[in-house]
């Protein structure tokens, strides 16, 4: 499929993603933050589609937006946010934090400016129609061990979450 209006969609989606990110860190109400984060995640799924990575986009939607964010919303509803909303939102070292982050940003910009040559203009012609199949071959071939470890990690996370969140086991 030939992408249509790539430039426009790139700016739209990345703009939405960054706007969402900015909203996430500035909102007083965590539910609004979560909404903004969902917007970011969906916009990113769009970016993945533009990068010929439909499977990652699908995983992003089903796992991130549909799974993790539901978990977040659940927890936000369970903890009392009203009290936290009335309190100070930023910690005392916020100025230092912003300065550090800005320094990091400047570092990125410098790296990208200096190393522009490192990122060639060329792009591989990734087969979009068989993206899932190729990922499957890699995942169950070369990355089999990592895949199994990931399942173990998830199991540990499940048990850990249950142990910590449940009152009486």
């Amino acid at each position: 499929m030939q992408p249509v209006a790539t430039t426009f969609f790139f700016y739209l989606l990345s703009g939405l993603a960054i706007l969402g990110g900015a909203l996430v860190i500035t909102r007083r109400n965590p539910v609004h933050s979560a909404l903004a984060l969902i917007m970011t995640l969906l916009a990113q799924a769009g970016l993945y589609l533009m990068l010929y990575a439909p499977f990652v986009a699908g995983v992003q939607i089903i796992l991130y937006a549909g799974g993790i964010m539901v978990l977040f919303l659940f927890v936000i509803m369970l903890v009392n946010i009203e009290k936290a909303q009335k309190q100070e939102q930023f910690n005392k070292q916020w100025l230092v934090g912003i300065a550090a982050a800005a320094a990091l940003g400047v570092l990125f910009v410098l790296v990208y400016m200096k190393g522009k040559a490192l990122f060639p203009e060329r792009a591989l012609q990734l087969p979009e129609q068989s993206n899932t199949q190729e990922i499957a071959v890699l995942l169950y071939g070369q990355y089999m061990f990592a895949f199994e470890i990931a399942s173990l990690l998830l199991l540990v996370a499940i048990i850990g979450a249950v142990v910590m969140a449940k009152k009486r086991i």
Binding site: M1, G58, I61, A65, G66, N131
Partner: protein
Amino acid sequence: MLDYIQGYLSSNLTPGQAGNVFWVTVYILIVFGGISVAVIAMNWLERKALAHFQVRLGPMRVGPHGLLQPIADAIKLLTKEDIIPSGADTFVFWIAPLIILCAAFTVYIVVPFGPTHAITDLNIGILFMLGVASLSVLGIVMAGWASNSHYPLIGALRSSAQMVSYEVAMGMAVVSAILMTSLHGLGMYGVAAKSTGTGTLSMIEIVKMQQEQQVWFLFKFFPLGLIAFAIFAIAMVAETNRAPFDLPEAESELTAGFHTEYSGLRWSLFMLGEYAAMIAVSSIAVTLWLGGWMRPFPHWLAGETWDLVFSLFPGLTFLGLAAIAFIGVARMPKHPYFKIQTAGLGGFGAVLGLIGVVLFVPLVRDRIQDIYWFAAKVAVFMYLYIWYRATWPRYRFDQLMKVGWKVLLPIAIGVLILTAILGVVL
């Protein structure tokens, strides 16, 4: 322009695949409009069918046999006052129904109404459908939370827990169907097909695989496909919050669950989303197990003659509906609005009949019959939804979870493993 149309009509790709912006737009409009009409029709049908199950007549006043009732309802809902409770989080309250609606409608991008009748054919089709459908949980949670009231909150918690749990069993059932796309093996009629090696997630490819293997996945590896389908059929009812799994909006317990505080337009958006989601999951079931757009017995009753016979069905259906309308005209009782009702029903029947006649034109007939068979299969599921609702009491929350986690999930995993083993052995 003409080239565009010509170019499309001769194409054997979906508009999205062909990258044809004009046709994509047209298709989006047709599909979304069609789904909206289907939702309205479903609304009327549900009320009528449910009423007849329950020895009532259902809507009879607005239009002949209440045919205009959904429109009257829509007008009522649109003109109603839109109440936002004090203490509600206005923005979230406002956006929640839109999320549900968007999630329910976005799914239709990949629904294959026919080999070329889909908006697009994504490589991750089924994954996309499940993912986007699961986004409606977000809307429900937000609606319940934003209402700032206990009943909606409990409804939202119930519903999100329920949808997340049943998605697991549903996903397992879907995976076993996807596994079948790559496996050869024996169908119900003992027809062996050649192995294709790799499977697929694309909705259109899944149906094509069923065509190639000459079996609906419902009958493949005989009991296994059926069990997986049954699990999906149960989970999809739970997924769409319908009876007997309608706890999130359990009328007698939580008044209306997560949309208790909603009124007017926003409430109607919830309803629109719910019905659209019902049609969406039914079309997943049809695509995965019931051969999608394939007509019944494509191989057993193959050949020119049978093709012709089956391609007459769409037209005959519409003529039949027209006949029913005309019987209604003939039996119209003499009440004050007798004349206008007769004219209305007669006109409706005439339109149906005209559509029926148009559907007999060979060119239209060939293009339309895929969509017809797909819609017919979905309609069966819609009827089942109504039937369930009329027959069964409601589950309790813990029982619902028990069914989801302790019954459906183990069976689904077992079916998945057996399918994989059978696929390798056979």
